[in-house]
């Protein structure tokens, strides 16, 4: 399970099933804290616990239903009256935050430039990819409407972040949260990618901590009302630099001494979900541009 889940369970252990997918199950610890029970083979999330479920059995077949109660505990009998008890004895703890090191601005610029084309080449077509490379979509269609609705807030988001204008950041985030297809709508994925880049690159380049955190907080508060429950949870993790497994590998590779793992890691990101990985990557590039812009703008 992720380190974040372990920390959360120190204070409470009872949750409610809020959604069931074939190989994962969403639990609400409270209004703001979501935990994902994932079956073996599902990449671990920053809020994830991998549980033993037979490979051929779906979560629904295993008996999970929305509204059921679950206790998660390491020892003892667990709370009485719960429908499920997840036993955490012996669970390995996984750190969802990548290993950062201080790097030069030019190095990050070079590495992002190297892999930018890979996003275009391998990214999902029905996604927010045209925000990085304008592409024509048939007018009146859903993809065209998606890009039209997303393009202005995405541009404003980057500009506002560079200026450190928290109010505008929140407004732009509201214009993206909950927008688009997917369990985590494309706009939610983009915001999570933006937040991850802003936090991690900003930190590795020594961007002003208070200003950076203000922008990150504005991202979360702006997206709160419109984002899906899952998207809201992942955005909360992203602003702390906590990422799902393939995304963490990408971030590890970006800051590594040797860049040889970077493109394979990016391709793995692009393989996440239907368009989630691509939307996250688009957000990451936009967030990286903003973080680099803010660093350049900051007094040396």
């Amino acid at each position: 399970m992720s380190r974040w889940v372990r920390d959360q369970l120190a204070a409470r252990s009872r949750a409610q099933v809020v959604g069931v997918q074939s190989r994962a199950c969403h639990l609400g610890l409270d209004a703001d804290a979501l935990v994902i029970l994932s079956a073996p083979g599902v990449p671990l999330s920053p809020n994830g616990v991998a549980v033993d479920v037979a490979p051929t059995v779906t979560m629904t077949e295993a008996g999970f239903r929305a509204g059921q109660t679950v206790t998660l505990s390491s020892h003892g009998p667990g709370e009485a009256g719960a429908d499920w008890r997840v036993v955490l004895d012996g669970a390995a703890i996984w750190e969802p935050r990548p290993v950062l090191r201080r790097v030069a601005l030019g190095l990050i610029e070079d590495r992002l430039r190297q892999i930018r084309l890979a996003v275009r080449a391998h990214g999902a077509s029905e996604s927010l990819l045209p925000l990085l490379w304008p592409a024509a979509a048939a007018p009146g269609t859903l993809p065209a409407a998606l890009i039209r609705l997303a393009s202005v807030p995405a541009r404003l988001l980057g500009e506002a972040a560079i200026r450190g204008d928290a109010e505008s950041v929140a407004g732009a985030a509201a214009g993206l949260a909950g927008l688009g297809p997917g369990l985590t709508p494309s706009g939610d994925d983009l915001l999570a990618g933006f937040a991850a880049a802003w936090t991690l690159i900003g930190e590795s380049l020594g961007l002003d901590g208070a200003g950076g955190r203000e922008v990150a907080s504005a991202l979360v508060s702006g997206a709160r009302a419109g984002a899906s429950a899952v998207g809201r949870a992942w955005l909360g993790h992203a602003v702390r630099g906590e990422l799902a497994e393939p995304l963490r590998r990408f971030a590890d590779a970006l800051f590594a001494v040797d860049a040889r793992d970077l493109e394979p890691a990016l391709r793995a990101v692009l393989g996440v979900g239907a368009s989630s990985g691509t939307d996250w990557a688009v957000g990451f590039f936009l967030g990286a541009d903003a973080a680099l812009g803010a660093v350049r703008r900051a007094p040396s």
Binding site: S22, T141, L149, L183, G226, S228, R249, A274
Partner: protein, 481 residues
């Protein structure tokens, strides 16, 4: 044009399924546009802009899923919505199950290969334990090729595997031979009745190859990981492997290859080896303790292979002297070296401790250690400095008769290399010749396995001094009038 739709309350369907369902619905006859999206505010606006928002969808909440279809007829629209519902419910006969079947994880691969019982994990160390746990959850034993796995994770994995009747080979398990299948870096060797348990790499490979050359064969070669015999891990995988080989009908004798085991763990493992009920040959590099009855302790990998083949009752075949590792009688004065890793090097180190290679001959000509001032990199092998390299050369002037005019040393103002060891000076000063040595494997073709600094034993100079004195005395006597 007809618009139809449905709202599924509180529905969580993953993105790939949503995309695939959307594509299939869009491909249906008469369908102009279709969308399956979460009912967030912006998505309702999005649907409105695309002309796909129904009145029911307009009232949906963010945890609801909207199915919206625009079609040429009401029938086509209703049929498309029904198909979308069926696809999301996972009904068969709807164009096959959603999701790609190409495995992208160990568990997905296990689903596609019923009866699989082993997973090979080779990912960066930070992720390896999690992948291995997932394999164990799927009922698979694990060949854990990855390194960089924390010791605590290794212990957890092995305990969990043991509780499930599974085995974890590794971490940093480089080789194994399981039912004739080579994993990692494995050698193609004959199958036969010798079962091997070894740390993870060169030791297992070497013994398996030697057994093959001696005419024997290997039933199973089980790697356990280089830390399995440390105190913290307690030999969990080794004990399991020994028990398995004890029960394995295809195994008649067992070879145990290990290096530097913890004392208590070594004893436990040897007891388990004896309890297997089969003849056991044990090579435990760097462990000085005795072996229990029923376990034959050997000192080299070659001896292990020969003993294993002999234990099968066959004639004691020879390796033709190609290997021929034998402890030497005389100890070197000092040997500092960097070895390149693996059981072969542990073995070489144990033997080298008691012997000396032939660099001693070539380097006394005034090259190598005597000229180290000009090539200080060699001291880096043992953590030394350039100043120390110069110091080594300066000391050699104390025990040599001449300086070479052909090879001069820039760091010493082009002074000639010290040349010509004077036995008397060695005995007078106690300074021993400095030798830089490459440590080569004894089998031709394997190459260098280490390098370092060594001095020869003083005893050989003492013996030479006595012999010289005797010779001079004889000469003096013979020449006397």
């Amino acid at each position: 044009m007809t618009l139809a739709g449905r709202v599924r309350p509180d529905t969580f369907v993953d993105s790939v399924c949503l995309m695939q369902a959307t594509e299939r619905v869009r491909a249906l006859p008469g369908v102009r546009a279709a969308a399956l999206v979460m009912a967030t505010d912006l998505n309702r606006r999005l649907l409105a802009e695309a002309g796909l928002l129904t009145s029911e969808a307009g009232r949906a909440g963010p945890t609801d899923l909207i199915i919206a279809v625009s079609a040429e007829s009401a029938e086509a629209a209703d049929a498309a919505v029904g198909r979308a519902e069926a696809l999301l419910a996972g009904r068969r006969g709807e164009g096959g199950p959603l999701r790609s079947e190409a495995p992208r994880s160990i568990v997905a691969a296990a689903r596609g290969l019923p009866g699989a019982n082993l997973a090979l994990v080779s990912v960066p160390g930070a992720y390896a334990a999690a992948e291995a746990h997932q394999a164990l959850s799927a009922g698979l034993s694990v060949f854990l090729f990855s390194d960089g796995v924390a010791l605590a994770d290794e212990v957890q994995l092995k305990r969990r595997a043991q509780a499930r009747g599974l085995l974890v080979m590794g971490p940093e398990c480089g080789t194994a031979l399981i039912d004739g299948v080579g994993l990692g870096f494995a050698n193609r060797v004959r199958r036969g009745p010798v079962g091997l348990v070894a740390a993870s790499g060169t030791g297992l490979q070497e013994v398996a190859c030697l057994i093959h050359r001696l005419g024997g064969g290997v039933s199973q070669g089980i790697g356990t990981g280089g830390r399995d015999l440390c105190e913290a891990v307690g030999g969990l995988s080794t004990l399991q492997a020994l028990a398995w080989l004890g029960r394995d009908a295809g195994t008649r004798v067992i070879g145990l290859v290990a290096k530097a085991p913890s004392g208590a763990v070594a004893q436990r493992v040897l007891d388990a080896a004896r309890a297997s009920g089969k003849p056991v040959v044990a090579y435990l590099a760097g462990w000085p303790g005795p072996a229990p009855a029923g376990v034959l302790r050997v000192e080299t990998l070659e001896a292990a292979a020969q003993a294993l083949v002999r234990a099968l009752g066959g004639p004691a075949a020879s390796l033709g002297g190609a290997r021929g590792l034998r402890p030497r009688r005389r100890r070197a004065g000092r040997a500092l070296g960097l070895y390149t890793g693996g059981t072969l090097c542990d073995e070489a180190r144990a033997i080298f401790r008691d012997g000396l290679g032939d660099s001693a001959i070539t380097e006394t000509a005034g090259l190598g250690g005597f000229a180290m001032a000009a090539a200080p990199a060699i001291v880096q092998f043992v953590g030394g400095t350039a100043a120390e390299a110069i110091g080594h050369t300066r000391r050699m002037y104390e025990i040599t008769l001449a300086e070479s005019g052909a090879y001069r040393l820039p760091p010493l103002d082009f002074r000639g290399t010290p040349t010509g060891i004077d036995l008397r000076l060695v005995l007078q000063t106690g300074i021993l010749p400095q030798i830089n040595t490459g440590i080569a494997h004894r089998l031709a073709g394997i190459g260098q396995i280490g390098a370092g600094l060594v001095t020869p034993p003083l005893q050989c100079f003492e013996a030479a001094g006595l012999a010289l004195a005797a010779a001079l005395e004889r000469a003096a006597t013979a020449g006397a009038p």
